[in-house]
Amino acid sequence: MSVNLFKDVAKPIMAGFGITRRRLQQRTSKYKDVTVQYPEQRREQYPRTRWKHALKRYDSGLEKCIGCSLCAGACPARCIYVEAAENTDGERYSAGERYAVRYEINMIRCIFCGYCQDACPTGAIVLEKDFELANYKRESFIYTKEMLLDPMPK
Amino acid sequence: MSELIQVGAPNQRPKAPRADELNLRFSPTAISELEALKTHYPDLKSCVLPGLWIAQREYGGSLNGEAIAEVAHRLERSYAEVEGVATFYSMYNTHHDVGRHKIEVCTCLSCHVNGAYRIWDYLKSKLGVGNKETTPDGMFTLEEVECLDACDRAPLLQIGDQYVGPVTEADIDRILADLRSKSDSTVVQMADEIVKVHLRDGNK
């Protein structure tokens, strides 16, 4: 098979750069900037983006998490560690008998699959949009319950 | 008094009484009756029901924990086993301390259509107590029961081992007056009758 230098090589290249030329001309009108000036500028994320986990609270301030460890069971990366304890009348953290006294996620291991969110019977753990997880030390990637838990509602 | 499990129970449960801590209250007659009844059955377990009847009589009409423990002790059963039996049958008065007379009102179908609830309400207002409650003077206990198997006499009351029916409000006033004047407890009397039946049956 012979190669036609113009038809098979030059013409597709020109057609390709043609798109670039059109985009450059129409930049301000039809097409918007693709690149944003992070971190000054932040792009809005898709609604179902899954990044850092958050432990939710009820409106009353009680934690939704009951320390059932189902998230840990569902986790394919085995990155969740839950230790439960019993609520007492004096110290009540969650609605039922049980609450999570330790809740740790190893963010290095986590693959953000969202299975924990699926498994949670109370909707306590939700993967939210905070994606800025970089840190200097490996130990800092163990996110504890205090780091994950939503603040008390006002 | 046997209790259902309550909320907020203390962490440490009390210990069951040891055999030597029991306050045995059976009279000599009761003991000899129990000895006689023991011979009627191949093993002591079978003697629990009549034993409980004797206890119900000896303990004044109701079976509290002490009564159950005494029967268990005398029949060499565990306390829990005897309590399980006693709380299963509704004719043993384990749920509450009964008065001297227990008025059981049948509210099953036949009695119901013949006005059992009219009678029931009348009795309640007259005695001032509800279901399974005892009047403050310890005279009457009112209880709503299932079919007493005498639908021809609906509406029906059972007082002690007697069926009374059909009854009207007027009858009730008379019955209550009669019972008030009675010196013996019909509840104890009934237990006594049943013990006698047990003793007689064995001697045939």
């Binding site: 009951i66 320390g67 059932c68 460890s69 189902l70 840990a72 069971g73 560690y81 839950v82 230790e83 439960a84 304890a85 019993e86 039922g96 008998e97 049980r98 019977p121 109370t122 | 046997s2 209790e3 259902l4 499990i5 309550q6 909320v7 907020g8 129970a9 962490n11 440490q12 449960r13 009390p14 210990k15 069951a16 924990g65 159950i68 423990a69 268990a72 059963r77 565990s78 306390y79 829990a80 086993e81 309590e83 399980g84 709380t87 299963f88």
Partner: protein, 705 residues
């Protein structure tokens, strides 16, 4: 129990069209297992009588009609109460049965709360499993469920959650049939039916832990394990219990390096599947904060943290004199390997025979050995033997406290086979409840009673003895014995018939009584002359192993009492305590205190802080049984392997490694590289242990005879 007759009559049945022969009367729920099929069950338990309470095991049953076709019964039957009979056709997999199972489960779930996420049983729950496999995916029950208080503390160990109870009666039947205390019963009826104790008093069973394991839902849960972990968080390893000498098989569950719980593991030869409370809840010490983690060496008044080489040097210096100047005492839970290497270290490096593993008031001497004296062994029966032994004589032991699993076996023999049990004890025991005869003697008259029974057996012609023995027994007339011991003459006469030819059980606890050697010899003689058998069982986890390993001063060394006395007198300069707290083990507290104060150099090797630590010159951290690999010999002389489950705490080392490291520092040789190597060495010097090679130690362990 599957009702299998002694001469097995077989019947032809078919299950799902597959023809097979099963023993007549076998329960269908068992027959089905022969085909590898499974019937869902809740209330049925193979070791207890069937009751047919839960209706989960429904099967369709048919019989061949006159025309040869199978005619099914109109209603399904409960497989757990249905005995196999000739021609029976069982169907476990029909459309009808699937619908029935769905219905049963829907009913069971009507009142069962769906709090699985917080339930300790969630993840290993038969109700969850059966619902997943056989149940409906949704419920049609929209009304309010029954509500009852949750987490009711029934005892120190057991929590009752009534809402979750499906009223299968397993716990009630366990206390009635297996443990025999009948502490639980169904109280009240209908919706308020609750398995609980008399008036909700404390659930005081010695075996209450088992009801937690057999509960098919989360109604009875473990108070110690409560909310500690979920089943999928756990790592589980087979292990053995080292709390007493029964050597029960357990599953050792751990999480993140911490002991979480133990469960019974099936070993038909020992514990079947049961555990006692002492064992089941006796492993908490692994997580204690007072574990010894670092080598400490005394510097003036204080113990300061040090390292192993320093400690070894100090020990070498102190023990250099050797001979009668040094001694060692061992505790109940050292492995065979530890004990053997200790003995070797002392014999070959310190040239000493001063080591002892026994802590009883009376310490039998080499001459007291029954094997030498009478030609019989101290341990003649296995635990399983007592199930089929028609006569059992328990002497001077509160069996449920000392050897709980043996107690269950003896009781099972009585319950299932009607074995006759005679109990002789100075205090009330749990075995009294089913004993055919109870001999309650005065404390201190053990040997009189034993001699009296032997004399009576001779008098009645039940035992043949030489004339000399007959002479010596002549003073033990029934009346004399009765006066001495407080046992009535009638009782003695009744008992002797049952005692002759019986399997005699006594424990090393007998050596704490007066004249124990006479008692033991008389009982052994009684067994020998009446064709019975005699057993004097060890009590500590590896006490029997210590005797087998020869950690007894029969080679001319000093025994426990003389060693402690020697410490006071100054004849013993250096003492090594291996995994033992003499204050707890030795009957004389003051003697121990004086000995530890006066001994020149004291090595304390312990896994947790004990009373001897303040006196230590060197404190060595020792691994606890589950933190090292090793073998244990139980009281019936069954060698079992305890694998390493947890990592060693701090710088702790297994005792055998310490002994071998010290030995090669004193005089180089090839050390054993692991416990398996140690066992090979043991087999060379103790031939009976040759069978206990690590390759053979799977399954039920190896019985040494």
């Amino acid at each position: 129990m599957a009702a299998v007759a002694s001469e097995v009559e077989l019947v032809n049945i078919s299950i799902n069209g597959v023809a097979l022969q099963v023993p007549k009367g076998e329960l269908i729920v068992e027959s089905v297992k022969r085909l590898g099929l499974e019937i869902p069950i809740f209330c049925y338990h193979p070791r207890m009588k069937p009751v047919g309470m839960c209706r989960m095991c429904l099967v369709e049953v048919g019989f061949p009609g006159p025309d040869g076709n199978i005619r099914k019964m109109p209603k399904p039957q409960a497989g757990c109460t249905l005995p196999a009979s000739e021609g029976m056709a069982i169907f476990t997999d029909t459309e009808q049965i699937h619908r029935d199972r769905k219905g049963v489960l829907e009913f069971l779930l009507v009142n069962h709360p769906l709090d699985c996420p917080i339930c300790d049983r969630g993840g290993e729950c038969p109700l969850q499993n059966n619902t997943l496999f056989y149940g409906p995916s949704t419920s049609r029950f929209l009304e309010l469920k029954r509500h009852l208080p949750k987490a009711f503390p029934l005892s120190k160990y057991v929590t009752l959650d009534l809402e979750r109870c499906i009223q299968c009666g397993r716990c009630v039947r366990f206390t009635e049939e297996i443990s025999g205390d009948s502490q639980l019963a169904f109280r009240f009826r209908g919706a308020s039916m609750q398995p609980s104790t008399f008036e909700l008093t404390d659930f005081e069973s010695k075996f209450s832990g088992n009801v937690i394991e057999i509960c098919p839902v989360g109604a009875l849960t473990n108070r110690e394990y409560r909310f500690r972990a979920r089943p999928w968080d756990l790592e589980t390893k087979p292990a053995i219990c080292t709390v007493c000498s029964n050597g029960c098989n357990i599953w050792f569950d751990h999480r993140a390096g911490r002991m979480v719980r133990t469960n019974g593991r099936t070993n038909e030869a020992i514990n079947e599947e049961w555990t006692c409370d002492r064992g089941k809840f006796g492993h908490e010490f692994y997580n204690d904060s007072n574990r010894v983690k670092h080598v400490m060496v005394r510097n003036g008044d204080a113990l300061v943290e040090s390292d192993w080489p320093t400690a070894y040097d100090a020990i070498r210096m102190a023990f250099a004199e050797g001979g009668n100047r040094v001694a060692a005492l061992t505790g109940p839970s050292n492995s065979n390997e530890d004990l053997y290497l200790l003995k070797k270290l002392f014999q070959t490096r310190f040239n000493s025979n001063n080591f002892d593993s026994r802590w009883t008031t009376y310490l039998p001497t080499a001459e007291d050995d029954l094997q030498k004296k009478m030609g019989v062994s101290m341990v003649q029966n296995t635990i399983a033997d007592f199930e089929s032994m028609s006569k059992v004589f328990i002497f001077g032991s509160s069996l449920a406290d000392e050897l709980p699993i043996l107690f269950l076996r003896v009781r099972k023999g009585w319950f299932n086979n009607g074995n006759k049990v005679v109990v002789a004890s100075d205090k009330p025991t749990d075995a009294d409840s089913f004993a055919a005869e109870v001999l309650r003697y005065r404390t201190g008259t053990e040997s009189t009673l034993a001699s009296g029974l032997l004399a009576l057996a001779v008098e009645k012609g039940l035992a043949q003895v030489p004339d000399a023995t007959r002479q010596s027994l002549s003073k033990y007339t029934a009346e004399h014995v009765s006066d001495e011991t407080g046992v009535s003459v009638d009782a003695l006469h009744r008992a002797v018939e049952l005692v002759a030819g019986a399997g005699i059980i006594t424990s090393h606890g007998i050596f704490n009584t007066s004249q124990p050697q006479d008692t033991v010899e008389t009982l052994a003689g009684l067994a020998m002359t009446t064709n019975g058998s005699f057993n004097c069982y060890a009590l500590g986890a590896n006490d029997q192993g210590a005797l087998d390993m020869g950690v007894v001063p029969f080679g001319g060394g000093m025994d426990t009492h003389s060693i402690l006395q020697g410490c006071i007198d100054g004849t013993v300069k250096a003492l090594w305590l291996v995994g033992c707290d003499p204050f707890e083990l030795h009957p004389d507290y003051d003697l121990v205190e004086k000995a530890l104060e006066n001994v020149h150099f004291l090595v304390v090797m312990a896994d947790h802080q004990n009373g001897a630590v303040p006196f230590a010159s060197v404190l060595l951290p020792e691994t606890a049984p589950a933190e090292q690999d090793g073998t244990f010999t139980n009281m019936e002389r069954r060698v079992q392997r305890m694998p390493q489950v947890l990592a060693a705490k701090g710088s702790a080392k297994p005792a055998w490694r310490v002994f071998s490291e010290l030995a090669i520092r004193i005089q180089p040789e090839t050390p054993p590289f692991g416990p398996a190597d140690c066992m090979k060495e043991i087999a060379e010097s103790i031939p009976s242990y040759a069978v206990a090679d690590y390759a053979n130690l799977g399954g039920e362990g190896v019985l040494i005879r």
